[in-house]
């Protein structure tokens, strides 16, 4: 066996269409090493976009995809996708080529083309593969048979903002993602995206303290986004009960969750999805914890909460209410019966004020008060009510009392407005509802006769040195107190945990009653026992509790798998924009005001417990959401959803474009072609009249991989009447092309046959000048097309206008001489061939001559030879060709190239 003398030779093939593929395969079969440059994500060129091919009507995919696979398997061919030549230098007989490799931001070694990244991506773009007639995601695989079959991320520019919102959110909700969805009207997608990391969207959409808004980078320009209200909007568009249950593979592991508050339920939710068998215990008659019993109806309708919990139950979680641990069941027994435990009993106990007369009837602690109201008990408050405290609970109590019909409600707070921990907008609402706040005041005694309250004695305070919490400590002012007549007092000075029951399994809570855990994993000192939420932190926010629950769930799953319990990788802290960045962005994005959340009028709301916030209208929501800076850019917004979904960690946003220098002995060019853009032909109304499309668009429309899955549809209906116009942008001086494009006559005939095969009794007209069916079997194909009923009209239409039904085509039939007016549903323009965009650049870097139309110049006796020795051209690069001719010229180019490198 003799040796292959060409192993050392390298040839560059530019273009991955059928021409390039043919050339590359021939060269490879001769033993040459081939590097194939493809500008796009996949080889296949124009041909793979076709539905069928003339005249045999066999499908393009059938005939081409085996070839593409051949290329990918051929050891002598290396495909460089997303690549193009930047510069070419003659080097001896060969060339040195500088190649630009656009990055995919995907580790192709890891990517398995499973496609989960695309499903989650919130950025919807136009699919080039479908001639922009259909959508694709920013991270995508252009079509199922793509070679290389790897995803790539379409990242055009860096995100203008720092996405501080996501970092600030304890559960890292994909804020920019769902804002993008909302701004483009994909409300359900928005909801699903929120749902992906949050089992209580409807809760957080209402009562979250929204740390995201605090850090929102847009806030540095004008106002922060109304992130919470937009979440609320998304939630309102979707009914949780219609949510379907994912496929869950059971693990047969049993987990007990103690406390059915946000922490406990979130944990249960995640564990259930992991397939564990979860039971939740709660002392109270209904699940939901503080969400259920502390937050008043007018802020969070109970129905919403029930739905969310309902879904968690549908996941298979058993919730056992009215069961107090330590009383009804002993924790030790639970520890025996279950494989793991999560303790999230929260901080259910109101703190006493610790002053005289607190035991008088008429004095009640806020938590108990709210619980009573939320449990629907008949609660009586007096005429004059004083609420002691400055937190959200206090505010809730006050507003609730007002709604219960008390004439005067006062808030008594020992510091000033600035130190009030309650949410700003809550305080606003409070004041609007006519509740007065008495600052720098503290009760020192409650008094009354017959055991029932009649008034309280207070003293004035002033602010002293800051305390541990950083707030200035109030100190009493010397001097006489004063008294306020009240007939009921509600104290809301904070809450405490109840953790005595944990001693049953030998846990020792801290002095303040909280449980010590590893904050990153939720692990307690005892194996298999985890805790989190208020029971660890003391009273805090819903979303923190959810986060705690999720952390624990993750750890518990690891624990049950017997793996090491390590925390999820930490996220960076929220970043601010620098001054210069802000200034820069101000220029790009003119200031837009935040759209306020519509609310009920005061007089309407104070009389009942109906929800106050009404919610955005779709228009308002889209407008507000589109203020998000991230959403303003083209392409990938780097929201990180794909990273979350990719299970092999193939996504890598740190990748960068590359520029490499390679040496080749010869170059074969197969740059392919573009199609004439008929917009300039006003008379045909392309782009203005609906139903006027180009041949290539029709090709996608009829292809099974196309936007309609192969159904020929116009506005969702099946068109019946078609008009084809040939020689659009060919044989036409004005459009700058005197030449004949050689394929339009036949692909029109092909389209006609496709229609005849798929649509019953269609009406088909064709305008032509000469029908150029020159190839093998073409003439016969053209004849059958006519016989099958297509009406060929010699003559070019004057204009196309809107008709009462569809479109009106005016054309002079040159054979009969008469002017005809024909009504159709769809007009297909057989657009001609144009040199590929960027061919000038290609030619200039290779100093190639081009002909008057811009095609690469080659002579007819040495068809693939260019003016540069060693550079050969094939396919449409040097002028219009049909597929067989392109294949032939591809082979010819390969042969010439072999001759050249063999000299």
């Amino acid at each position: 066996m003799n040796e292959n003398s060409f192993q050392e030779k390298n040839v560059l093939v530019v273009g991955g269409g059928i021409g390039g593929i043919t050339a590359a395969l021939e060269l490879a079969s001769c033993g040459v090493k081939v590097t194939m440059l493809e500008e796009g994500p996949s080889i296949g060129g124009r041909m793979i976009q076709l539905d069928k091919t003339f005249p045999t009507l066999d499908c393009a995919t059938c005939v081409l995809s085996p070839k593409m696979v051949e290329v990918s398997l051929e050891k002598n061919i290396e495909i460089l996708s997303w690549s193009k030549p930047l510069a070419v230098k003659k080097k001896g007989k060969g060339f040195q080529v500088t190649i630009f490799k656009k990055t995919r931001y995907i580790d192709t070694k890891k990517c398995t083309a499973c496609g989960s990244c695309s499903t989650g991506c919130p950025v919807v773009m136009k699919s080039e593969f479908n001639m922009n007639t259909g959508p694709r995601k920013a991270v995508y695989i252009p079509f199922p048979q793509a070679i290389p079959n790897k995803a790539s991320i379409d990242k055009r520019e860096d995100r203008p903002c720092k996405a501080a919102c996501v970092d600030a959110c304890p559960i890292h909700t994909n804020v920019l993602g769902y804002l993008k969805h909302i701004s483009e009207g994909r409300f359900k997608d928005a909801y699903m995206l929120i749902r992906a990391t949050n089992p209580f969207p409807s809760v957080c959409g209402r009562v979250c303290y929204a740390p995201c808004e605090g850090v929102c980078n847009r806030g540095q320009l004008d106002d922060p986004l109304a992130i919470r209200d937009l979440k609320r909007f998304a939630v309102d568009q979707f009914d949780v009960n219609s949510l379907e249950i994912p496929q869950i593979t059971r693990t047969e592991k049993k987990v007990a969750v103690i406390g059915a508050g946000p922490a406990g339920l979130s944990c249960a939710h995640d564990l259930a999805i992991e397939g564990h068998d979860v039971t939740v215990f709660d002392a109270l008659p209904e699940p939901g914890g503080m969400l259920r019993y502390a937050i008043p109806e007018y802020r969070l309708p109970k129905e919403e909460l029930r739905k969310e919990i309902g879904y968690i139950e549908r996941l298979g979680v058993r919730i056992q209410c009215g069961t107090e641990i330590g009383k009804d069941i002993d924790l030790a027994t639970i520890k025996n019966d279950f494989d793991a435990i999560f303790i999230a009993t929260g901080a259910p106990k109101g703190l006493p004020l610790g002053v005289e007369g607190e035991d008088l009837s008429g004095v009640i602690d806020g938590i108990r008060f709210l619980r009573a109201v939320n449990s629907g008990e008949k609660v009586k408050t007096g005429k004059d009510v004083a609420v002691i405290g400055g937190g959200n609970t206090a505010v809730d109590c006050a507003r609730t009392a007002k709604r219960l019909g008390s004439e005067s409600v006062k808030l008594i707070y020992r510091r000033t407005r600035d130190e009030m921990p309650a949410a700003h907008e809550e305080i606003e609402a409070l004041l609007q509802e006519g509740i007065e706040i008495q600052f720098l005041t503290t009760p020192i005694r409650f008094y009354g006769e017959g055991g029932s309250l009649s008034g309280m004695e207070c003293i004035r305070m002033e602010l002293g040195e800051p305390d541990a919490s950083g707030r200035r400590r109030p100190v009493p002012i010397k001097g006489p107190g004063f008294s306020i007549p009240v007939d009921s007092v509600i104290t809301a000075l904070g809450q405490a945990t109840q953790t005595a029951f944990t001693e049953a399994i030998g846990m020792s809570p801290a002095k303040n009653g909280t449980i010590e855990i590893d904050p990153l994993t939720g692990a307690t000192g005892i194996e298999g026992v985890f805790a989190g939420g208020d029971v660890h932190t003391g009273p805090a926010y819903v979303v923190d509790a959810i986060a705690a629950g999720q952390r624990a769930a993750r750890s518990i799953t690891l624990y049950l798998k017997g793996e090491e319990i390590k925390p999820a990788n930490a996220r960076k802290a929220p970043e601010k924009l620098s001054e210069t960045e802000v200034a820069e962005l101000m220029k790009r994005y003119p200031s837009l005001e935040r759209i306020p959340m519509p609310e009920k009028k005061v007089e309407e709301r104070v009389t009942n417990f109906g929800e106050v916030a009404i919610g955005y209208s779709p228009e308002q929501a889209r407008a507000e959401a589109s203020r998000c800076l991230a959403g303003r850019i083209e392409g990938c917004i780097q929201c990180g959803e794909c990273e979350r979904l990719c299970e092999v960690g193939a996504i890598d946003h740190t990748m960068r474009d590359e520029i490499v220098d390679l040496e080749f002995d010869s170059i074969v060019l197969a740059p392919g072609f573009d199609l004439y853009d008929p917009t300039e032909k006003r008379e045909y109304g392309y782009g203005t009249l609906e139903g006027v499309i180009t041949g290539m668009e029709f090709e996608r429309l009829s292809s099974v991989t196309g936007p309609t899955g192969g159904d020929i549809l116009l506005k969702g209906k099946v068109p019946k009447r078609f008009y084809f116009i040939q020689c659009v942008g060919s044989r036409d001086r004005q459009s700058g092309a005197r030449y004949c494009s050689r394929v339009c006559c036949m692909y029109t005939a092909k389209h006609i046959n496709i229609i005849l095969d798929r649509i019953k009794e269609p009406e088909i007209y064709v305008s032509y000048i000469d029908v150029r069916a020159y190839g093998k079997g073409y003439e016969e194909f053209y004849k059958t097309t006519q016989e099958r009923g297509a009406i060929y009209i010699r003559g070019v239409p004057g204009e196309i206008t809107k008709a009462e039904s569809g479109l009106l085509v005016r054309v002079e039939d040159m054979l009969s001489g008469e002017i005809r007016e024909i009504q159709v549903d769809m007009v297909i323009l057989a657009t001609g061939v144009r040199p590929r965009k960027g061919i000038e650049e290609l030619c200039s870097i290779m100093s190639l001559e081009r002909d008057e139309y811009g095609f690469i110049r080659a002579d007819s006796i040495n068809p693939s030879r260019t003016n540069v020795e060693g550079i050969f051209v094939c396919g449409m690069g040097c002028g219009p060709k049909d597929i067989p001719d392109t294949v032939a010229s591809g082979g010819e180019a390969a042969a010439r190239c072999m001759e050249y490198i063999n000299q």
């Binding site: 066999d58 499908c59 059938c62 199922p144 099974v704 991989t705 192969g710």
Partner: protein
């Protein structure tokens, strides 16, 4: 044999040529088109590889239906294979007809891009067989 299977859902065995129909079935999958689970396909290089004996075996072993599918006549990757297939299957059909079970064998041409056609073909076949079986159930 058939008697047993008639109680449960139909079992359809399909022979698909790897160049056209199997490709179509792949695409049907990647486009998430749905067809009954009872349909299972065997990949053969060319429909002409299908020995009628296979079909008889499948039927005798309890398949409720068998289909053979390849490239459209003239498009055969091996140039002429499917013309022979057409003859063989036509003959076998005649034999099945004589034994009154013609409707349990089908032959169709599906090219690689015709995922939808593939779905339509197998689904209608499946449903047809199902009807037949249910009728037999009643009787």
């Amino acid at each position: 044999m058939a008697e047993e299977t008639s109680k449960k859902n139909p079992e359809i065995v399909g022979f698909c040529c790897s160049y056209c129909t199997f490709k179509a079935s792949e695409m049907a999958g990647s486009l998430r088109m749905k067809y009954p689970e009872g349909v299972k396909v065997i990949e053969v290089p060319c429909s002409s590889r299908v020995d009628p004996a296979f079909i008889i075996k499948a039927i005798v072993e309890g398949a409720d239906g068998v289909f053979v599918s390849g490239c459209h006549p003239g498009d055969c990757h091996f140039i002429k294979g499917n013309f022979y297939t057409r003859r063989k299957i036509a003959a076998l059909k005649e034999m099945f007809d004589a034994l009154s079970m013609k409707d349990r064998l089908r032959l169709f041409w599906v090219s690689a891009s015709e995922a939808r056609r593939f779905i339509d073909k197998v689904t209608s076949f499946y449903n047809y067989i199902k009807e037949k079986n249910d009728e037999r159930e009643k009787a």
